[in-house]
């Protein structure tokens, strides 16, 4: 079996398929067109579909994200690329007060079928302004859906569903996964429904919940934990909104223990909401406190020595799971 389908290809192929099969789809963003995209995700689109459908923009995020909202209201299916999720600082308004609220404010009469593709990632010394995992911030805004693929085929399938959704979907890639390969190219138009978590490994001892890059740390930890005698139910959330809490609950009712792992800052992060819901809704099922493994409460440092110290890694995951299972840490967890 050829395991060589890249995450980046998953995104690009799904996007290209949408462009090819639905003339309403537009690609909008900085250098997405003629230059083939900052991370080559949009490679080939300009050549194939031309400047009318693939629009390079100036550095005007407030304007062009807003414009994409408007284009969606006109019946187009715009995909707007926000080069880094950190740049949300420049264009929160059209998402916070416009796209997310228009269905509600119009009593359901209008909709904003918009896909915002963006990427986040830590680990490459991109430092404070290019390393933020801000998915919780967006998830706190009712009306937005927030999608966080971790694998090449999910990248494909979730993007397909993002385009099919009648409302605004923030599709957050993880740039440290762009070159990650696994699985095979899905069939054209392959879709993974939004809000449906995926069980990555099955086990009855502990529920390990993650998404995006951090999922891969969990996948590394699972066999080690198996050796520790712990069978892990590993869940990839795949989207933060909608949140497949049922999948989580079903698992925790079996395992009685839960650990949540993400790259975002722990405090007020996605793990907070998950921990809260597990702890309250499954209060009687829990045998141990829910553990969180996440970044410390600091901007992302540049120096590799510091950046490493502040991020989840398989060792930290392993120790958190061991803690949830009442076992001591195998070695002192990093910072």
């Amino acid at each position: 079996m050829t395991r060589e389908y890249r995450y980046l290809d998953g995104i690009r192929d799904a996007l290209t398929h949408q462009m090819a099969t639905d003339d309403r789809v537009l690609t909008i963003g900085i250098d997405v067109g003629r230059p083939d995209g900052p991370y080559t995700v949009t490679k080939g689109l300009y050549a194939a579909f031309g400047g009318e459908r693939v629009l390079d923009t100036p550095i005007a995020e407030m304007g062009f994200v807003g414009a994409a909202v408007g284009a969606a209201m006109a019946g187009a299916r715009p995909m707007v690329e926000l080069m880094y999720l950190d740049f949300i600082g420049s264009c929160l308004e059209p998402l916070l007060n416009q796209a997310s609220k228009i269905s509600y404010m119009s009593n359901g009469a209008l909709s904003v079928p918009l896909v915002v593709r963006t990427q986040m990632g830590t680990g490459g010394s991109a430092a404070a302004q290019h390393s933020q995992n801000l998915e919780a911030m967006l998830a706190h805004i009712p009306g937005l859906k927030v999608v966080v693929p971790a694998t090449p085929t999910d990248a494909y399938g979730l993007l397909t569903s993002a385009f099919a959704d009648p409302g605004p979907v923030i599709y957050i890639e993880n740039r440290s996964l762009y070159r990650f390969r696994s699985g095979e190219r899905p069939d054209d138009g392959y879709a993974v429904p939004l809000g449906q978590a995926r069980t990555v490994t099955s086990g009855d001892d502990v529920t390990l919940i993650s998404y995006s890059r951090a999922l891969h740390d969990c996948m590394t930890a699972v066999p080690q934990l198996q050796e520790d005698g712990i069978a892990v139910d590993l869940i990839d959330l795949r989207s933060i909104v909608p949140l497949d809490f049922e999948a989580v609950a079903e698992s925790v009712r079996r395992t009685h223990r839960a650990v949540i792992v993400h790259d975002a800052v722990e405090t007020f992060g996605v793990g907070a909401e998950l921990t809260a819901r597990i702890s309250t809704e499954l209060f009687d099922w829990l045998d141990a406190p829910v553990e969180r493994v996440a970044a410390g409460y600091a901007p992302s440092p540049f120096a590799p020595s510091l950046e490493r110290a502040n991020l989840p890694n398989p060792e930290r995951v392993r120790n958190a799971v061991r803690a949830a299972c009442g076992l001591a840490a195998v070695e002192p967890a990093a910072a």
Binding site: L26, G66, A67, E93, M105, L110
Partner: protein
């Protein structure tokens, strides 16, 4: 405008211009009556939330009403009741929205600053200054792409000229050459601050001069016929495919919001030395040979329509609390 707006008077076969002017006049007086009603509704606490009326600026909405077509789209501001009415939303639906009723154009969910009507291509008044302009530029782009025939018009105040969203939108409108009418109502007040106190430029349109391909127009927005000419011209340019910015000058008679004591205002508000667009329009129509009685009749009829619509709106239900979480997501 169909059944929604005030009824059109019978057009004189040979004088379409006169007919349009009459319809615009009727729109003006209707909006005046509506806004006075809204101000009263605020005072009596019948309307919840904030109310921003457009009294003094009606000629622009009047002109808009005869230039805009059903398949054109409109985006507006916090001061947008008149624009929605001009775009064809029924008086009753606007009233009901202000009262928070199910029959409101936004089903009572939106309110004065968030009025939508899919049917009339009203894509929202807006409580935030700036983003409506970007949305409009993108809407025009999308609209053109989807082969929708209309143009997009966005109303904004001169205060929006300070926002980055305005400037970024100008750049995009120019780059993409989209069929959008950027219609700035310069009423010389941005909340409580006069234009000359904050704006270090002479006019809003001058800020757009350096972008290729945006046509720039201005008019006296208290002069009905001048406004019709200018707004017509703006739509003509947009229909021909290009972006256009029209700066229409008028006067805000009331406070920024109803209840605003306007202590900052040396002239005390109201018409001041300015001309009442209704008076100006009336004189212009009389000069065009329309009988004063016809105009009086229109005024009376408009006022009656506004009252009737309010009465009807009052009969509608408040939204059912059990529906509060509906429509967060589009179906």
């Amino acid at each position: 405008m169909t059944k929604a707006g005030p009824s059109a008077s019978a057009p004189a076969e040979d004088d379409i211009d006169q007919d349009r002017a009459l319809r615009a006049f009727e729109m003006m007086v209707t909006i005046r009556a509506f806004e006075e009603g809204a101000a009263a509704g605020y005072r009596s606490s019948e309307i919840p939330g904030a109310v921003h009326v457009s009294i003094g600026q009606e000629a622009i909405a009047g002109a808009l009403s005869v230039a805009v077509r059903p398949d054109d789209a409109l985006l507006s501001t916090h001061r947008g009741h008149g624009h929605c009415i001009a775009k064809g939303v029924s008086l009753e639906a606007v009233w009901a929205e202000l009262l928070g009723r199910t029959t409101g154009c936004s089903g009572g969910r939106g309110g004065s600053m968030h009025m939508f009507s899919a049917e009339h291509n009203v894509l929202g008044t807006n409580g935030i200054v700036g983003p409506n302009i970007s949305l409009a530029v993108g809407h025009a782009l999308g609209s053109r792409h989807i082969k929708h025939s209309g143009v997009t018009v966005v109303m904004f105040g001169e205060g929006a000229a300070a926002t980055g969203a305005f400037h970024e939108s100008l750049q995009l409108a120019s780059l993409w050459k989209v069929p959008v009418v950027l219609l700035c109502e310069n009423n010389s007040f941005t909340e409580f601050t006069p234009f000359e106190d904050w704006a270090t430029f002479s006019s809003v349109r001058s800020l757009a001069e350096r972008y290729r391909g945006i046509e720039l127009l201005q008019c006296d927005g208290t002069d009905l016929l001048a406004s019709i000419d200018a707004v017509d011209r703006a739509f003509e340019i947009a229909r021909a495919g290009g972006p256009v910015l029209l700066e229409a000058y008028a006067r805000r008679w009331h406070g920024h919001y109803e209840g605003d004591p306007q202590r900052y205002r040396a002239d005390g508000g109201g018409a001041g030395d300015g001309r009442d667009p209704l008076e100006v329009g009336r004189e212009q129509l009389v000069a065009k040979g329309i009988a004063a009685e016809v105009l009086d009749e229109i005024a009376a009829r408009s006022s009656q329509a506004v009252d009737d619509a309010l009465i009807a709106a009052r009969l509608a239900d408040e939204p059912d609390p059990a529906t509060v979480l509906d429509h967060v997501y589009a179906a």
